[in-house]
C-alpha cells in the first residue's frame, strides 16, 4: 500500500503527551511515526500546515437506524456523515428493528459495515431481549460477534434487579454497561426539560430528577457488582455531581456528554421547533454550565453525539408527536472548539482526549492514538476558518439539526480511516 505523509500539521497525540508541529507518516494503513522532519520518498503528501492532526475521533453513541429504519439513516449514510464530521469510529446503539439483541443482528451490522461503511463501526448490544427490560440478551455471544458494550438506550431498564443481573453479566464478559438514565415513570409524557420554559410553552416536562435517580441507582449497582457503568448523554448538574463523587470514591463509573447539552439550553429553543427536541432534553443554564464544568474537571470522560436521525415527515408535526433526537456527527467538533478551545477553557490535547483516548479506554478499542503501529485513523481539523452548517447538504439521510445555519470557527478538514481518506473537504463536490 502507498505511503501517506501529512506535512507540517500540529500533531496532537494525548496518549504520548505530544502537541507540536510535525510530519506524520502512514504506511500500509498503520501509523509509521511522526517527527519534526520526515524525509520520505514516494509518498502521497497532504499539507496540514495550520491544522490539527489528531488520532481518529471516536463517537461512542450514534444511531445508524439499520436494520429497520433505513429511510432515516443507513450504516453507509451515517458513516459518511461521521467521516465528514471528523469521526473515524462510531458505535451504534441497538435500537434498530430488529433490536440488536442477538448474534444474528450483530453479525449483520458488522457485515454491512464491512461492505458499506467508510469508517469503523462498532455495534453496541442490547441489555435485554428486544430491549423490553425483562430477559437478558445473549450478551456473551454478542461480544464474540463484535459488540463493545451493552445498552438499552432509549428504553432504559426500569427494573433494578434486572439491571443488577445485567451488570453481573457485563462484569463476567468485561463489557461496559451504557445506560440512558431516565426513570420512565417520572418522565412519562414529557416533551422538554421541566422548567420555566416548559411552563410557558405549555409543554409537559421531563424533570432533571428523572435522570438523577437512575444515575444514582446505576452508581450503586456498579458498586455492588463491580461492573463498569457508563452514563450516556448526561445532562443534569446533579447527575454530573454524582458521577464526580463516584469517581472520587474509586468506583468504575464513566460518563459522556453531548455537544448540544453544553452548547444549548432550553431557552435557546425557538418555540415548538422539534429540531431542538431530544432526550435527555436541553436543560437549563445551570445544567449547561455544569456540563462544561464537568468536561473541564474530568467528571465527564468523553464527548459523544447521540446522532439520532429522523426524517422530515416525522419531525414535521405537532411538537408533542415528534420523535426525540437530533443529528450530531457533523457539528460536534466545531461545537467543542467553540465551547472549550476558542474560549481558552481547555488545552487542545485535553479536548482531543475526550474524543479519542477516553472512549477508546472505556470501550477497550485499540484506537485513539497515533502510536507507531496503531491503525492509521486520523482526524484533521482547522481552528479559524469560518463556515456555516447547511443541514441540507448533510451526508445523513435526515435533516433534523438545531444547528442549521449556524456559523462556526474551525472544523473537520479531512478524515483518514485505516490509512485511506474517508472524506476530505477539498475533494467535496
Amino acid at each position: 500500500m502507498a505511503k501517506l505523509l501529512l506535512r507540517n500539521g500540529r500533531v496532537v497525540d494525548p496518549a504520548a503527551g505530544h502537541d507540536a508541529v510535525a510530519d506524520l507518516l502512514v504506511e500500509d494503513g498503520m501509523i509509521a511515526g511522526y517527527g519534526p522532519h520526515a524525509d520520505v520518498v514516494g509518498a502521497e503528501e497532504f499539507d496540514a500546515a495550520g491544522m490539527v492532526v489528531a488520532p481518529g475521533f471516536i463517537d461512542m453513541h450514534v444511531h445508524l437506524r439499520e436494520p429497520g429504519f433505513e429511510h432515516s439513516e443507513t450504516i453507509e449514510s451515517g458513516s459518511r456523515a461521521a467521516a465528514a464530521g471528523g469521526f473515524t469510529s462510531i458505535c451504534c446503539m441497538p435500537n434498530t428493528h430488529p433490536v440488536n439483541d442477538s448474534v444474528t443482528v450483530t453479525s449483520y451490522i458488522v457485515e454491512r459495515a464491512r461492505h458499506n461503511a467508510v469508517v469503523n463501526v462498532y455495534p453496541i448490544g442490547a441489555i435485554t431481549r428486544k430491549s423490553a427490560g425483562e430477559e437478558l440478551a445473549a450478551i456473551g455471544s454478542m461480544k464474540r460477534a463484535g459488540i463493545v458494550a451493552i445498552s438499552d438506550d432509549g428504553r432504559p431498564v426500569m427494573n433494578a434487579r434486572v439491571m443488577r443481573r445485567a451488570m453481573e453479566m457485563a462484569r463476567s464478559f468485561d463489557l461496559p454497561v451504557i445506560d440512558h438514565c431516565e426513570d420512565l415513570h417520572l418522565s412519562a409524557g414529557g416533551d422538554m426539560h421541566e422548567g420555566l420554559t416548559s411552563l410557558k410553552l405549555g409543554l409537559r416536562g421531563i424533570p432533571a430528577c428523572s435522570e438523577d435517580v437512575m444515575v444514582a441507582r446505576d452508581i450503586l449497582l456498579a458498586e455492588v457488582t463491580g461492573a463498569r457503568f457508563h452514563a450516556a448523554h448526561i445532562s443534569s448538574r446533579h447527575s454530573i455531581a454524582m458521577v464526580k463523587q463516584a469517581k472520587a470514591l474509586g468506583l468504575p463509573v464513566t460518563a459522556e456528554v453531548c455537544p448540544h447539552h453544553f452548547a444549548l439550553s432550553d431557552e435557546d429553543m425557538p418555540p415548538y421547533d422539534s429540531n431542538f427536541k431530544m432526550k435527555p432534553p436541553l436543560r437549563d443554564r445551570s445544567d449547561t454550565g455544569a456540563a462544561v464544568e464537568g468536561v473541564l474537571s474530568g467528571a465527564i470522560d468523553a464527548i459523544a453525539t447521540d446522532h439520532a436521525p429522523h426524517p422530515g415527515s416525522e419531525k414535521m408535526q405537532e411538537f408533542e408527536r415528534c420523535p426525540f433526537g437530533i443529528l450530531g456527527l457533523e457539528t460536534a467538533i466545531a461545537l467543542a472548539l467553540e465551547t472549550f478551545v476558542h474560549t481558552g477553557r481547555l488545552p487542545m490535547s485535553k479536548l482531543v482526549e475526550k474524543f479519542t483516548t477516553a472512549p477508546a479506554r472505556i470501550l477497550r478499542l485499540p484506537r485513539g492514538t497515533l502510536a507507531k503501529g496503531a491503525p492509521a485513523d486520523i482526524t484533521i481539523f482547522d481552528l479559524d476558518r469560518p463556515w456555516t452548517y447547511d443541514v441540507n447538504r448533510s451526508f445523513s439521510k435526515s435533516r433534523n439539526s438545531p444547528f442549521h445555519g449556524r456559523t462556526f470557527r474551525g472544523g473537520p478538514v479531512a478524515t483518514i480511516v485505516n490509512g485511506r481518506f474517508a472524506w476530505r473537504k477539498d475533494k467535496e463536490l
Binding site: 420555566l196 410557558k200 405549555g202 409543554l203 414535521m316 405537532e318 411538537f319
Partner: protein
C-alpha cells in the same frame, strides 16, 4: 399584529388596548335587531377545530358572520383528520382553498405556531393545548372593564388547575401587562413552583382563603381530574379545598366579580349558588366573546 393572533405573551399593551376599544364599539351591536355589519364582506374564514368546543367555535362563527365574512367550520370528528391525516397535509389542503384567515383550536401546545410558519394565512389561536387561549383573556379583560375603570392594581385570584390551563396563562400575561396583582391558587400538583415567574405581579398560594382575601376578581378554572391519565390530585379532595363556595365570597371585596371560562362543573370547582349569584359575570363573558372575536378578526384581516 403582524400575522394572526397566536398568544397574549408577545402582544404589546397598546395592541391589547386597541382590540378592547374596538370590542367596546361592537358591544351595542349585540342588542340590535340587525346585528350584521359588512366590514369583512366576501372574506373567507376557516374555523378549524381539532378539539371539541361548542362555545368557542360558535362564538367565532357568529363573530365572523356579524362581520359579513363567510365562515366554514371544520371539526376533527367526521373530517379527514379523524382518518389519520397529518397536520401538515390538512394544512396543505386548506392552503389550497385560500382562506383569508384560519381560526384554530388544537389539543397540542404550539400546533398553531407550527402551522403559522408554513401558511400564508393569518391564524387566530382559539386555544392550543395547555399553552394559550388569547381571545379568552381578551374577553375576560373586557368583562372586568365593564365593571371597573382599569385593570391596574386589581387583585385577581386565578384558582384551579393552573398548570394545564391555557386560560390561566393568557390571563396571567394580559393582567400582568396592565399592572394587576395576580394570585395563583391550586394544589401543588396543579400549580408547580416557577408558575409565578411567568410574568411580573404573579404569586402563588396553596390556600384558597388567602387567595380570595380582598380579591376584586375570582377566576375559576375548569377541573378535569377525571380526564387525566394519572390523578395529580384526588378528585374527592378537590371541591372541599379548592371549590368556590358562598362563604368564600365574604372574604373578597363586596363587589367581587366571579368569572369562569366555561363550561362550568357545578359542585366540582364552583358551587351552584355561586355560579348563579349576583357576583357571577359568567354569562357576560360569553356575550363579550363575540365582540372581542369580531375585533380580533377585523384587526388581523385588515
Amino acid at each position: 399584529m403582524a400575522k394572526g393572533l397566536l398568544g397574549i405573551e408577545d402582544l404589546e399593551r397598546a395592541e391589547i388596548e386597541a382590540i378592547l376599544a374596538r370590542a367596546k364599539d361592537f358591544q351595542p351591536l349585540q342588542n340590535r335587531s340587525n346585528k350584521r355589519l359588512d366590514l369583512l364582506r366576501g372574506r373567507m374564514i376557516v374555523n378549524l377545530f381539532f378539539e371539541a368546543s361548542t362555545r368557542t367555535r360558535t362564538s367565532f362563527e357568529i363573530a365572523a358572520k356579524r362581520l359579513g365574512a363567510d365562515a366554514v367550520s371544520i371539526t376533527a370528528s367526521g373530517s379527514s383528520v379523524a382518518k389519520g391525516e397529518s397536520l401538515v397535509d390538512t394544512l396543505n389542503t386548506l392552503a389550497a382553498m385560500k382562506p383569508d384567515a384560519i381560526v384554530m383550536r388544537h389539543a397540542a401546545s404550539g400546533a398553531p405556531h407550527f402551522l403559522s410558519r408554513h401558511l400564508p394565512a393569518p391564524i387566530v389561536n382559539a386555544g392550543d393545548g395547555t399553552h394559550e387561549h388569547p381571545t379568552q383573556a381578551l374577553l375576560d379583560a373586557l368583562t372586568i372593564l365593564d365593571h371597573r375603570q382599569s385593570l391596574e392594581g386589581l387583585r385577581v385570584a386565578i384558582i384551579g388547575d393552573i398548570v394545564h390551563s391555557r386560560v390561566a396563562r393568557s390571563n396571567i400575561y394580559l393582567l400582568s401587562k396592565f399592572g394587576a396583582g395576580i394570585v395563583l391558587c391550586g394544589p401543588a400538583s396543579l400549580l408547580p413552583p416557577k408558575m409565578d415567574r411567568l410574568a411580573p405581579g404573579a404569586r402563588i398560594t396553596y390556600d384558597m382563603r388567602e387567595a380570595i382575601e380582598n380579591a376584586d376578581v375570582i377566576m375559576m378554572l375548569r377541573v378535569q381530574l377525571e380526564r387525566q391519565n394519572e390523578s395529580p390530585f384526588p378528585a374527592s379532595e378537590y371541591y372541599p379545598f379548592y371549590g368556590l363556595q358562598v362563604e368564600h365570597l365574604h372574604l373578597a371585596k363586596p363587589d367581587v366579580l366571579v368569572m369562569h371560562p366555561g363550561p362550568i362543573n357545578r359542585g366540582r370547582e364552583i358551587a351552584s349558588d355561586v355560579a348563579d349569584s349576583q357576583r357571577s359575570v359568567i354569562l357576560n363573558q360569553v356575550e363579550n366573546g363575540i365582540a372581542v372575536r369580531m375585533a380580533v378578526l377585523e384587526r388581523i384581516m385588515n
